[in-house]
């Protein structure tokens, strides 16, 4: 039950909503579609479902070209961004709808419909709400009913458009774990939209990152986080410090500061190069073995971790320190490390960089670079 999207392009007037999208999803996979608002996630989902027709390109379901097939031949279950439950029908009738509208020959008998609906409502743990109407449900309950309704017709593919978009953080967390377990149980090939990166990383086996109607990167959560292919992916997935500078004489130079690179890069020369450094790839040191000196401006406890904001301090020669895009450097520490260092606002500390990644030109992928410890 694979999904293949080949070079799909969709325009609204002269605005390109989908730009040459190619994408493969294997049988039984759970893939997240991630991207900023307006990047074309819903449009892509609607195109796969058949609610939108692309200007060029094709959509293959299980190897068969479905580009011009009507919706009902695609066997796609769709969960809408705003649930789209039938408000004038009870929860039971909502879930039963897909079974009741089947052609007479395929329609199960009433007793079978009842059994199936109750089974599904059990699956989403809401059987006790069968007689209620959608307006009488909470957001999370509506969401699960929408899912049960989509599953009732036993779709081969499940497309979920921001399934947890309108819910508060706790309910989202609960439903996330629940969706994951459900997927393990049913193994329907699924594609779900979100603009919450944490959600995507937690639930999906692979992530598609989109921006401006294009796919920026497609890969496992770990791969996308560790080796982002474009600056956009790097900044969109997780936090990152962007340092402006250049590479010459075996070191990365930013402002007056210098970061020695591994020996293998001795011959590399890049006139203009941003370095991307994750907040947790920066270690705080007290003492001289540091790459850079900073002053801590803000401490933000985040539960098990601490976020610090620091600004560069002038070095011995009076240089301005490294140039970051925001003017600040974000550092992330474990609680233990933070306590052990006894840090506070105003302290001057040294930084050691463990990991850098960068991008040549627009979008050449580049392995992250481990920075060697000073001799």
């Amino acid at each position: 039950m694979s999904i293949h999207v080949n070079q799909l392009t969709k325009r609204y007037g002269n605005f390109t909503a989908l730009d040459d999208i190619s994408l493969s999803i294997d049988d039984g996979e759970l893939v997240a579609l991630l991207g900023p608002s307006g990047c074309g996630k819903t449009t892509l989902l609607r195109s796969i479902a058949g609610m939108e027709f692309a200007d060029s390109g094709s959509i293959l379901l299980e190897g068969r070209d479905m580009t011009f097939e009507p919706i009902r031949h695609r066997q796609v279950g769709f969960v809408f961004q705003h649930y789209a439950l039938f408000n004038h029908m009870s929860v039971f009738e909502n879930v039963a709808y897909g079974l009741r509208v089947k052609p007479r020959a395929q329609r199960p008998p009433e007793a079978e419909i009842r059994r199936r609906v109750h089974e599904l409502l059990d699956l989403v743990q809401l059987d006790w709400l069968a007689r209620r109407f959608p307006p009488q449900l909470s957001g999370g309950q509506r969401q699960r009913i929408a899912l049960a309704r989509a599953l009732a017709v036993e779709p081969r593919y499940l497309l979920l458009d921001e399934p947890f978009g309108a819910l508060d953080a706790n309910v989202r967390k609960e439903l996330r774990g629940w969706l994951r377990r459900l997927h393990e149980e049913l193994h329907v090939t699924s594609l779900f939209v979100t603009h919450d990166q944490e959600e995507a990383m937690e639930v999906a086996s692979r992530i598609v990152v989109m921006n401006h109607g294009r796919i920026e990167q497609l890969g496992t959560p770990a791969k996308i986080y560790d080796t982002p292919r474009t600056p956009f992916v790097s900044t969109f997935i997780g936090n990152v410090n962007v340092f402006r500078g250049c590479v010459r004489n075996g070191a990365f130079h930013s402002g007056s500061w210098r970061l020695p690179l591994p020996r293998t890069l001795d011959t590399l020369h890049l006139a203009e190069q941003n370095a991307y450094i994750r907040p947790h790839d920066i270690e705080i040191l007290r003492g001289p073995a540091a790459d850079w000196q900073v002053s801590i401006r803000h401490v933000q406890p985040m539960g098990s971790r601490y976020h610090l904001e620091a600004v560069p301090v002038a070095d011995a020669s009076g240089g301005p320190g490294p140039e970051t895009e925001s003017g600040r450097i974000t550092i992330e520490l474990t609680r233990q490390a933070f306590k052990a260092l006894a840090l506070d606002v105003g302290h001057r500390v040294g930084l050691r960089i463990h990991h850098v990644h960068w991008f040549h030109g627009a979008a050449t992928p580049q392995q992250p670079i481990d920075i060697p410890a000073p001799a």
């Binding site: 919706i71 809408f80 509208v101």
Partner: protein, 288 residues
């Protein structure tokens, strides 16, 4: 808004009028309603029964009155279902699809509202009249349109055309297409979707439009007056019949027949408020 003692009663923002001003304003409103709405109704009833119950009954069971009632009912019976059909179809097209000429269609639907009914009637005279475009072709071939039933139906159709569509277009635009798409995604045919999703969701708005359409169809005077020819017992609808009786100085009879139309108005008003109330409840539950 300051927190006055009756804040819990009035949830709307409230200006700081003194009780006197408020009292004067509401009295004025009541006086106007009394003068322009209640008084005429009372006058109709008083005049209708001036010569007693017997005369009243005679007037409304009169052969010509019965025929006028029949004709009015017939015209409404033809026009209301046709305009309902048209209204649903037009509202669906306009609310659900983008197509060239969409805004033109929206404007055209309003045309009967902006044209004086008399002009509408005259247009039909121009088209089907003896000197008109069709040069009396229909009449010559045994199917007269003017001064006959088809003309009355056509004129009524024209003036009542916008009622249902006008009611449904904003409603369907506000509801959006998502639930309909969901039905299609679940395998429903478009026809099935129409009956199980679209119509149940718009039913109160639709009923509201139908009630208004019906009231206008039965009460229309201007356009019908122009095309009917006032042939008693043949092309006289209820409103026209009232006029004829009045012009013949049969005041009691005229007012007696008028009570029928007044009754229709009151029934319409009650039905309308029930539907409005139901619709309000549906909107509230849908947006909660």
């Amino acid at each position: 808004m300051n927190s006055t003692p009756h804040r819990h009663i009035v949830a709307r923002p409230q200006a700081d009028e003194t009780p006197l001003v408020r009292y004067l304003l509401s009295s004025l409103a009541m006086a106007i309603i009394g003068l322009f709405l209640i008084l005429p109704l009372v006058a109709v009833l008083v005049e209708a029964f001036r010569d007693g119950w017997q005369t009243y009954m005679t007037a409304i069971t009169d052969r010509y009155t019965r025929h006028a009632i029949g004709l009015t009912l017939f015209a409404a019976l033809v026009c209301v279902p046709l305009n309902t059909l048209f209204g649903v179809a037009a509202a669906w097209c306009i609310a659900r699809f983008e197509f060239p000429g969409r805004s033109l269609l929206t404007t055209l639907i309003d045309l009967p509202f902006s044209v004086s009914p008399v002009i509408a009637g005259l247009v039909f005279i121009l088209i089907f009249g003896a000197q008109g475009w069709f040069d009396g072709w229909f009449a010559a071939n045994g199917f007269p349109i003017l001064f006959a039933l088809p003309g009355i139906v056509l004129a009524t159709m024209f003036v009542t055309l916008p009622f249902v569509a006008r009611e449904l277009i904003p409603l369907m635009q506000q509801q959006g297409a998502e639930q309909e798409e969901a039905a299609i995604m679940l395998g429903a045919s478009p026809w099935r979707m129409l009956w199980t999703i679209t119509l149940p969701r718009i039913k109160w708005g639709l009923l509201y439009g139908v009630i208004l359409c019906n009231a206008r169809a039965m009460g229309e005077f201007g356009a019908v007056s122009v095309v009917s020819g006032h042939i008693r017992g043949s092309t006289n609808t209820l409103p026209l019949h009232v006029e004829i009786l009045y012009n013949e100085y049969q005041f009691s009879a005229a007012f007696a027949v008028a009570t029928l139309l007044a009754g229709l108005a009151i029934v319409t008003l009650i039905a309308k408020s029930i539907v409005e109330w139901r619709q309000q409840r549906q909107w509230e539950s849908a947006s909660s």
